[in-house]
């Protein structure tokens, strides 16, 4: 009986709208973090248009497009997992969450293959081959590694977050009536997706 009383009280203090607002406020700070980097990118690209175009030819557009589709699909499965839990299908929700994490892993493996290929070509920060290139191309690769790298860290954090939510769903803490934690984790994951939506054309598709 006493546990039930505690349970009821916990419910009374719940405010899902404010929880989501909290996550949105955090996302705005993320927007500033990446916004600053995009500002830097835009000025350097404006200064070195030709070099940026040549350097971006080194990118593997196929991998870039595949990674975009993978991340978009992971956003879909994340959204589906929330609908599933709302409708009370816990197992389906857990399945979608695990698929989301799997897509995240695939994204990172692709990134690993891509970066390894660049490193073999000598296009890594501080390498003699890269330092002999024009300043614009050095800047391009500097921005590429820092921005895509920071995004990659966000993907890793997002995967950790979703894995934690899966644990909570299995435990029943996230359930049909209380799924705001899963929703906020989803918001973070979708923001990571949006950032990639901009990174992809800006680094891979320069004509």
């Amino acid at each position: 009986m006493s546990t039930q009383a505690v349970h009821v009280e916990a419910h009374e203090h719940r405010d899902d709208i404010r929880s989501r607002m909290g996550m949105w406020l955090f996302l705005f700070s993320e927007l500033l973090l990446f916004g600053g980097l995009f500002l830097m990118y835009s000025v350097y690209r404006f200064m070195h248009q030709h070099d940026f175009s040549i350097a971006s030819k080194e990118m593997n557009t196929f991998f870039g497009t595949m990674n975009t589709v993978i991340l978009l699909t992971s956003s879909l499965t994340m959204a589906l997992s929330i609908t599933a839990i709302k409708r009370g299908s816990r197992k389906l929700s857990i399945f979608f969450q695990l698929v989301t994490i799997l897509f995240g892993i695939t994204f990172m493996v692709n990134k690993f293959i891509e970066w390894s290929a660049e490193f073999r070509k000598g296009n890594f920060p501080g390498s003699a081959i890269l330092l002999n290139k024009p300043p614009g191309q050095i800047l391009y690769f500097g921005l590429y590694y820092s921005m895509v790298g920071l995004h990659g860290i966000h993907v890793l954090v997002g995967m950790g977050l979703i894995a934690f939510m899966t644990r909570l769903t299995i435990k029943g803490i996230i359930n049909k009536d209380d799924y705001v934690k899963l929703e906020t984790a989803g918001l973070y994951w979708h923001l990571v997706d949006i950032i990639w939506i901009f990174l992809f054309p800006l680094f891979y598709l320069i004509t």
Binding site: L31, S75, D177, F198
Partner: protein, 97 residues
């Protein structure tokens, strides 16, 4: 506790439609990049990225069904990003000859 469930029902089908639109737009942006529009290329690429982000924000992130305050907050945040870009390039144009 109904106030915590301000959301409308988001169906599986709607999400799959949004996802199809997003993948199509990705295909479009990759294809269009092969065509040389000159200075317009970057504008087309960014326009497609903005449309995709709009879809993710409104549908996947449920902004469409959130309270008005959420929409105002997001608008203000994006407005400040736009102001930053405008000020930066205004400033920059005075330094470079």
């Amino acid at each position: 506790m109904e106030k915590n469930k301000a959301h409308e029902e988001h169906g599986y089908g709607m999400y799959i439609l949004v996802w199809l639109a997003l993948v199509t737009l990705t295909g479009l942006t990759a294809t269009v990049a092969g065509i040389n529009f000159g200075k317009l290329s970057i504008a087309v690429a960014l326009l497609i990225a903005v449309i995709k982000s709009y879809l993710v924000l409104t549908e996947f992130m449920h902004l469409k069904s959130e309270q008005k305050s959420f929409k105002v907050f997001v608008f203000v945040a994006l407005l400040f990003i736009c102001i930053s870009f405008t000020l930066l390039f205004t400033d920059y144009s005075f330094y470079v000859r």
